[in-house]
């Protein structure tokens, strides 16, 4: 039995950051300086980002305090209404959009960013699409990821196995003793837990027999129908017994390659692309020692030397959802623009609609000319607008961009405005010529759309100019990196 991770179809291979890994200390707790740049890095990876002042606030907690705040957020979460009542879209029959907006709203406003980030991770991992599954079942699956996504993996996999959306998506609802359907058994091994090459076709056939009996009633609730279950002996990974679904899940996660498989996926999501085998091995040990506990494993990663190393800093492209939600969180808006699902589709990541059973490939596949233009023009449109009100109501007072506040803080000074923007939006991760270009833009005598006024930066044009400078800043290549 081979036990290697097959990386032949991983597009992130080749995007490992340069430099050497210190494998012995990589996952030990980081004890260095923890400033706003470190906190902003943590916010981008363990969440979606924050408002301009949030990195400094998080940094004041220290590294352990900041990670604790992400893992175990104090206080109550924001209030959310449940799908389908969450939005007028549902009453208009737009269930798909209602479900997408319901989730995007949660990502934007939750105080539990890491939990929502893990929910997004599992959505990509157990990629299920609203193109085949009704909206209500998709929403229930996202809720399942939210509830169990930071617990123990075997419990999560067990719940996913009998989740109505998954029973529909991979056809296990039709898997019965009289007519086995191997679709789910195959994807559990290939995509969810082991990876290609770490099982045999016979393992799939036998495991599929163990998954028989789980189907849906007329209300699309999961039900176990004993008459449809094959209760005879099955042989999986060389062991034989009258296995049911949970028995096979236990056998799968007990395969040593599973630890490395999941460790690698977590490292590629949180740390950097194409992690070294030594780093995967260390993270696999952490995962195994934790008893397959996701929160503990992720917590160790978020506190680790490698996580705060310069090699991991700005070393992953933001996914479209990270980019869009991060931008809105940075603006401090509480409202999801109504066309965001469509905008995200153009950027290459429509929520609840992964492109295949493999989910989104991530890494370099997020970046092409069409998807970058979609990101740029999303920002360009946002900075020119006022945020919409909830449910089609006009906004009370929610501009996406507030030039008055910025000028109030730093004064009517182009160089200071440019410095403040690159400091707050991209943590000064720019060269001096970028600051000079932004300052030059603010001071340029070219007429702008609104004013047609060839004045240098000043009271007549600062509104337009600051919006433009902010768009330029958010559209910098470095801001496409998490």
């Amino acid at each position: 039995m081979p036990s290697k991770i097959d990386t032949s179809t991983d597009p992130q291979v080749g995007f490992r950051p340069p430099g050497a890994l210190d494998a012995a200390t990589a996952l030990l707790p980081y004890a260095g300086r923890f400033g706003p740049r470190h906190a902003a890095h943590l916010l981008r990876r363990a969440g979606f980002g924050g408002a301009a002042d949030e990195p400094a606030r998080l940094a004041s907690l220290g590294m352990n305090g900041a990670v604790d705040a992400m893992l175990h957020p104090p206080g109550l979460d924001a209030e959310f209404t449940d799908f389908p009542d969450s939005d007028v879209l549902f009453t208009q029959g737009k269930n798909r959009a209602a479900a997408q907006m319901w989730w995007l709203d949660r990502m934007l406003r939750t105080n539990r960013q890491l939990r929502e980030k893990m929910t997004l991770f599992w959505h990509g991992h157990f990629a299920t699409s609203i193109n085949k599954v009704p909206a209500a079942q998709m929403v229930a699956q996202i809720d399942l990821f939210r509830t169990l996504g930071m617990g123990r993996f075997p419990a999560l996999l067990s719940a996913v196995t009998t989740d109505p959306a998954m029973l529909i998506w991979l056809d296990n609802r039709y898997n019965a003793k009289a007519h086995p359907n191997e679709n789910y058994a195959r994807e559990v091994m290939e995509l969810f837990a082991l990876g290609l090459g770490n099982y045999t076709e016979d393992d799939i056939k036998e495991a599929a027999r163990a998954f028989t009996g789980w189907t849906l009633d007329r209300g699309l609730q999961a039900q176990f129908v004993a008459a449809r279950h094959d209760d005879g002996p099955k042989t999986v990974f060389g062991k034989t017994g009258n296995y049911n679904a949970d028995d096979v899940i236990a056998l799968i996660v007990a395969q040593p390659v599973h630890q490395r498989f999941l460790a690698r996926k977590l490292l590629e999501f949180f740390v950097y692309s194409d992690p070294e085998p030594e780093l995967i091995e260390s993270a696999a040990q952490v995962y195994a020692l934790s008893g397959f506990d996701i929160a503990k494993t992720v917590g160790t990663i978020l506190r680790s030397n490698v996580f705060y190393s310069t090699r991991a800093y700005r070393a992953l492209p933001k996914s479209p959802v990270e980019f869009a939600i991060g931008t809105l969180r940075y603006f401090g808006t509480a409202t999801v623009p109504p066309n965001l699902p469509y905008q995200l589709a153009r950027m290459g990541q429509e929520p609840l609609n992964p492109p295949s059973v493999k989910g989104w490939d991530g890494g370099p596949t997020w970046i092409n000319t069409s998807t970058l233009l979609a990101r740029f023009n999303f920002v360009n449109a946002l900075v020119a607008q006022t945020a919409p009100g909830k449910n089609g109501q006009p906004a009370v007072s929610a501009p996406y961009v507030n030039p008055d506040a910025l000028v109030g803080r730093v004064g009517m000074d182009a160089a200071k405005v440019a410095a403040a923007l690159v400091g707050e939006a991209v943590q000064d991760d720019v060269t001096s010529d970028v600051r000079a270009t932004l300052t030059g833009y603010l001071n340029s005598a070219t007429p702008t759309a609104a004013t047609q006024n060839p004045m240098p930066f000043g009271p007549e044009n600062y509104q337009d100019k600051i919006r433009g400078a902010l768009a330029l800043t958010l559209n910098l290549p470095v801001n496409q990196l998490a």
Partner: protein
Amino acid sequence: MKRSTFVSSALSVAFLGGNASVALAQVAGASAPLPSFGANGDPDNVLVVVQMGGGNDGLNTVVPFADDNYHRVRPGIALAPASVLKLNDRIGFNPALKGLAALYHEGSVAVVQGVGYPNPNRSHFEATQIWETASPERPQQYGWLGRYLDRRFPAGSKPPLFEAVSLGDTLPAALVASHVEVPAIGTLGAFGYNAGRNLAEKQSAGVLYDGAKAGQSPYLTMIAQTARDAYHGGDTLRAQTATFTNKAAYPNNGFAQQLALAARLIGSSVGSKIVFVSLGSFDTHAGQRAQQDRLLGYLGDGLQAFYADLAAHGLDRKVMTLTFSEFGRRVAQNASNGTDHGTAMPLFVIGGGVKGGIYGEHPSLTDLDRGDLKFSTDFRSVYATVISRWLGRDPSAVLGGAYPAIAFV
């Protein structure tokens, strides 16, 4: 600072002013004499794929008007024999396809009948995935055209940015490739950095992207390069397509406008070789006649204008158009004068390089599989023919198996 070749050459020429259009064409090699047409694929051959989304009813597209069973099971939606544009004494086009019929009578349309695959899927989503990835048995990450592009341009080579394009806001599964980028172009105007009318802001963005430094992360280098391509690509596209004038009157609908843009991308120095266009709403569960006839009219009239345009530019023999739909529809109509999801259907291959005629067997209307037509031609045979005889590549590497070629080219 190093830009991709297409951007730097095109822009430097554009900055020369004067007779830029001629210079642009020379840069891209478009004014060189066309190589002779080869039977086994030519690197200059162009493929246009037309998606008829929603599941097009084949029996009311290529109508078996002489079959009594057709009229018996479709009392509310069958086409009268007198109205059908006859191809022979048994079948004929829906009269809405008069534009396509004109092309057919010029010998430029192959009708491939009864196209499908074993164990047909009747879900829009899954069947579309199957057609676009050419993989009925297993989900596939990359599309059939994406896999073709990956083989034509090995990893590390940099194909022209607009070698393959999708005309629409998002990329169809057919064009998802592992390392070849395929831009999705909604409209020429929308493909570009849009800072409103704020010229200073747009210019500053160009300065920032052109000056972006390579970083420690390999991603930063890649993103900076792609940002430059994206920023300049729209302007390049507009400049290059501006040198091409459509020489046919296209109907005023979205599909025909897509074809007009396709002609500009193919015929200008942009030189696109694969273009994906789509025409939707064939999901005719109720009131089928009005809806399908309107869409088929768009299809036939649009393609007729497209080939008139291409012919006026001497390109009609270089461009092959292939239509597909995720499935055909049920043989018998339903109670709403519509049809439900079915299986096999005819598809069309169009172009001056196509051997026109009728290929494959028309499926029986009585020997059915659960009320649906049995397929006679595997759709992968159509793809294999296009890949081997038109695009000149080994189809088995792209399709993961060998499928017999069809004689339409």
